[in-house]
């Protein structure tokens, strides 16, 4: 066989992009921001555990949550499976492809060698859709790649069975049931509720708005974890990459979330949400300021406490503004409920 006819689209983020493309393929007309918003993808976490050499942060929910939360809230059902045996995983993937079923798989990004070597890093939570095979190669729709790509059987297997943290274990999924009528109003509100909970109410000091504040307070300590100046410059520049480049849609997913709110305002017929989408766009602009300040510090190699405090202050502003925003979104949801 060769390629299954599949509309390849680039997306901001690999998981929401993969879920969106698969749902579009099966006839559900939905956008990436809607998938991201319904699944409460927006988030913040600042992490530094004893086994971590260097602190890290995340601006989105846990890998896998986009699919599971979206399914819970819309009634869409996905068949998902992990494997111990690579041969069995490959055989079942091939059988599905032979039945014209595109299949999303979790891989170590490093093995997706249609990207240039300098860009590929070991991250076990990349999602791509396999849309066909021919001889010893597979056709891949990857949200980060402009065209349909090809990857060898060996590379795909290595990517699907890389070990280490969050090992894919051959994980794959595809939709098996899409309800004829989805209650989008309910799903959108549940998604917003989930986002406000994630950002405001998780009782852990490194998650949500509290996580942004922790990041703001701890960034001045980063030099003590770095082995040299080059290393520190690279890590500080990674703030920019994580916020702008690495599948966020810019502004640390805040621009994507603003797009969701704009769409949601139409579905819920609530103009107040349209105003809030503009606010969220401005919040994203503020995150972009954090990105640019970090890139500047990294480039100029000025790692003084003063400069890092400046980035910390920008982060603290983000925390305050997001706390206010999500509190108001929470109230808006309560008001909307009362008005129905």
């Amino acid at each position: 066989m060769s390629q299954i006819p599949f509309r390849h689209i680039m997306a901001a983020h690999c998981e929401s992009g993969t879920v969106t493309a698969l749902l579009n393929h099966h006839g559900l007309n939905i956008t990436e921001p809607m998938v991201f918003g319904i699944s409460s993808g927006i988030f913040f976490a600042y992490l530094k555990t004893p086994v971590m050499d260097f602190p890290m942060f995340a601006v989105r929910s846990m890998p896998g949550h986009v699919r599971t939360k979206f399914a819970d809230r819309t009634g869409v059902k996905f068949k998902s499976k992990t494997y111990r045996n690579p041969e069995k995983a490959e055989k079942e993937l091939n059988e599905l492809l032979d039945r014209n079923q595109p299949v999303a798989v979790q891989v170590d990004f490093f093995y997706m060698n249609y990207f240039p070597a300098w860009y590929r890093i070991h991250v076990n939570v990349h999602f791509v859709t396999v849309i066909g095979r021919e001889g010893d190669k597979y056709f891949i729709s990857d949200s980060y790649h402009p065209q349909i790509a090809e990857v060898s059987r060996e590379a795909l297997t290595k990517g699907r069975f890389a070990g280490g943290s969050m090992a894919p274990k051959g994980f794959m999924f595809y939709p098996v049931y899409i309800p004829e009528k989805i209650d989008f109003e309910k799903a959108i509100k549940a998604g917003m509720k989930g986002a406000t909970y994630n950002m405001l109410k998780i009782p852990l000091p490194f998650l949500g708005v509290k996580g942004i504040r922790r990041f703001a307070n701890r960034i001045v300590d980063w030099p003590k974890y770095a082995r040299d100046e080059d290393f520190l410059a690279e890590k500080i520049f990674r703030i920019t990459i994580f916020l702008e480049d690495q599948g966020t849609g810019g502004g640390g997913f805040r621009f994507l979330y603003a797009s969701f709110l704009q769409e949601a305002s139409k579905v819920l017929n609530n103009p107040r949400l349209d105003e809030m989408s503009k606010e969220m766009m401005n919040i994203g602009d503020g995150w972009r300021e954090v990105s640019l300040a970090s890139a500047k510090v990294a480039k100029q190699r000025d790692f003084s406490r003063e400069k890092l405090t400046e980035i910390g202050d920008l982060l603290r502003q983000r925390a305050d503004i997001e706390e206010s925003f999500f509190n108001r979104l929470d109230k808006e949801l309560s008001n909307h409920k009362n008005n129905i």
Binding site: A12, G17, W118
Partner: protein, 170 residues
């Protein structure tokens, strides 16, 4: 952010960003990557410096090849342990030249499978073009129109030699 304010000219690395369109709606648009468009030369400079420093340490017998490749691939000892199935305690031993010298070939194979290099490269630094210290796993194409010769030299590390493929200038 308006779409026009996010445009980066970088045709070889494209990304999707969300921004405000001309009509006030928000949506996706394709543009160049900020990282690739603005910072790639700095990234190459930093990684190049890091690789060269590691090579010197390897040649001097200060670090083991496992440590070298682990760093090149951006892995940590914990991550390498998880990927090879070798205990963290043993991985940490193998990161030192002493621990490396006592390693079995079968164990080494588990590392090379994860680190994506031939087993032979655990014992040699391959320099593919004269005067350019490419990293050991470099597998770029060699210009076959030029004749070349291969030489091998000892380093201060008794377990590692330097293999040089020298292209003759025409």
């Amino acid at each position: 952010m308006k779409e026009k304010d996010l445009v980066i000219d970088c045709p070889y690395h494209q990304v999707i960003l969300y921004a405000e369109k001309g009509d006030g709606t928000y949506g996706p648009f394709q543009t160049g990557s900020y990282m690739a468009g603005v910072n790639i030369s700095e990234h190459f400079r930093i990684t190049g410096n890091h690789t060269r420093a590691l090579l010197e340490q390897l040649k001097a017998g200060i670090i083991s090849p496992v440590y070298y490749f682990m760093m090149i691939e951006g892995l940590t000892a914990d991550e390498l342990a998880g990927r090879t199935g070798i205990s963290k305690f043993r991985v940490k031993k193998h990161l030192t030249p002493k621990g490396f010298s006592k390693m079995r070939i079968s164990t080494m194979k588990r590392y090379t499978d994860v680190l994506n290099i031939p087993l032979a490269n655990m014992f040699q630094i391959v320099c593919t073009i004269e005067d350019r210290n490419w990293d050991m796993g470099y597998q770029g194409e060699i210009d076959n129109s030029k004749t070349g010769s291969i030489s091998q030299e000892k380093t201060d590390n008794p377990l590692v030699i330097e293999t040089k493929i020298i292209q003759n200038r025409k």
